[in-house]
């Protein structure tokens, strides 16, 4: 266990330093806003990682929970004048409820059924938001959603607020991973039969993972609404769900850190593509869609475990090799010594 804590502590230290210094290394407002978006995405993908990598399910509708969270807080604060704090709490609870109902309904489903059911759910939510015009403003969306001003309303304070939430979500998930509940998730992923025979209620735990991921996505959505100040249904569709999926898959489904690394990576790639499309005029359409699709296919084909677990294995192997070489050296030294003495 000590090893685990040591490893974990190091990663967490690096994370904290990078997270805190980023806005000062990149003092440009634009990069701070990119940092904020990465944080918002990370909250969603860490939750998705709990569902996919740990509990071994799939969700192709994560953007829907994100959208429900965003609209919940936006509607409560803008139409009913509630404080953003109340809105944010509701933006965790309402998507959690949706996830509970959907998850209860489909908890017995596996594989493709689950994929299709969540995909369909994503569509229904996006259609629902667009059609429920009196409340959501329909396709035109909503404007003048109040800002969150817990620590002031500068880009920098927003950055730290959101990354504070990311840190909480991250710690929560890491704790969970090395706990009774997290082990139950991982056990289900590897063998439902064995998990059941150890007394784990597979349906209940799958549902739990699904609800937690829905709540994380909802919180992120609420923060997104207050950060942007405007909302329309467009970003809460399949494209975004696939983007979340790509982030989790490239980083490594089974690793919480992987979700974080994947989120940063995909956002950098997106930014790079936007810059490219400004330079190269022929790049019309969704160039990022091609890239995400290609990443998904290539990862499954050549690196199914994902980036972070792969790097970890490589690192451990090189360490083992070093240790072996050291031991061999020692041995040959001893042999030389022995020869010398005889």
């Amino acid at each position: 266990m000590k090893q685990v804590i040591d490893k974990w502590g190091k990663s967490f230290g690096i994370y904290l330093i990078l997270m805190i210094v980023f806005p000062f290394v990149m003092p440009d407002e634009y990069y701070r806003s990119v940092g904020i978006i990465i944080g918002l995405h990370a909250i969603v993908t860490i939750g998705l990682c709990l569902v996919m990598g740990l509990a071994g399910q799939i969700s192709l509708g994560q953007a829907a929970f994100w959208g429900i969270g965003a609209y919940t807080s936006a509607v409560l604060t803008t139409k009913y004048g509630l404080s953003p704090f109340v809105g944010l709490v509701a933006s965790a609870i309402i998507p959690g409820l949706f996830a509970f109902i959907l998850g209860r309904a489909i908890a017995g489903l596996q594989g493709y059924y689950l994929a299709m059911a969540t995909l369909a759910f994503g569509y229904i939510v996006q259609i629902g938001i667009t059609e429920w015009e009196p409340v959501t403003g329909g396709a035109n969306g909503m404007i003048s959603i109040p800002k969150v001003t817990f620590f002031g309303d500068s880009e920098l304070s927003m950055y730290y607020l959101i990354w504070g939430v990311v840190t909480c979500v991250l710690l929560f998930s890491l704790n969970l991973l090395h706990s009774r509940v997290g082990r139950a998730f991982r056990a289900i992923h590897k063998s439902e039969i064995a998990a059941t025979s150890m007394g784990i209620d597979v349906r209940k735990f799958k549902l739990n993972a699904f609800v937690v991921s829905g709540m994380f996505a909802g919180i992120s959505g609420g923060l997104y609404a207050h950060y942007m100040g405007i909302l329309d249904p467009q970003p809460f569709g399949l494209h975004e769900s696939i983007k979340f999926l790509t982030m989790v898959v490239i980083g490594g489904m089974t690793s919480i850190w992987g979700a974080l690394v994947g989120t940063v990576l995909i956002n950098f790639i997106s930014e790079g593509l936007i810059m490219m499309s400004e330079v190269i005029p022929g790049l019309q359409g969704d160039i990022d869609t091609i890239v995400f699709g290609a990443i998904l296919v290539l990862i499954v084909m050549f690196m199914p475990e994902g980036l972070v677990p792969r790097l970890r294995t490589l690192y451990e192997k090189s360490q083992a090799k070093k240790a072996k070489a050291k031991a061999a050296n020692l041995q040959s030294d001893q042999r030389v010594e022995r020869k010398a003495t005889t």
Binding site: I127, I242, L296, V297
Partner: protein, 292 residues
Amino acid sequence: MTEFLQYVANGLVSGGIYAIVAVGFITIYNVSKVINLAQGEFLMLGGMVAVAMIGMNVPYVIAVVLAILLVTLVGIMMQKYVIAYVKKANPISLIILTIGISTLFRGVASLIWGKDAFALAPITSNEPISFGGVMVAQQSLWILAAVLIILFLLWYLMERTILGKKINACSVNPMAARLMGISPAKMSMLAFAISGATGAIAGIVIAPLSVTSYDIGVLLGIKGFSAAILGGLGNPLGAAVAAFLLGIVESLGAGYVSSGMKDAIAFLVLIGMLLVKPSGIFGERSVGKGGL
């Protein structure tokens, strides 16, 4: 009453398209136990390639044939270079893989053809025909004809030919099939080819009626899959019937409830079905865990 019949007629046409998608899903699933989430993209590619070639002044018939051949080839290559490569992947990986392929196709299409919608000239004139007050576009009749011919040919292939028997053998027991000298890999490739070809035909025949664009594949894919589940995954006939029913329900819902909710209706049917009876109305031959 005329209004009702009009909705039913419209529903039959879209239901026919869903039937082709559903049968495409099942053809591949039966042989390789893979649900090809990129199935809908075959339709998109078929329609878009045909439109593009006609735009380059290729004669109509040749453009259509080339489009079908090209998509068939895409299906074969997808099986040979991607699906076959990850044979022992778990269901989640296969879902991610086929979703990735579908995303890739969509992205490439939007890059080549942009995000605009395109219409294809109908096979015969645009003039609708009246059946006792129910107006039916001539193209709708072509669609129905194409659907029925495809369904019949597939049925004939699977039930009445040696090749069909071989495919069936692979779906029932791949190991035994291999011992009999049948290559499951080849049969799997054949299944992808068939799905590609039928998908392309469906994509081409609907292009004149409902315009085609880079993103039509996902919706058609989900609806086809819904029909495949409704009919019981693994049962092509049941799927075809379910697809027509789904098309009619959707058309009635759009007509009487709200046209904006049209797509939501199909999905609600899917989710409702999964809740009540995941094995489908007509029962399921194999448990749909996928990738097993």
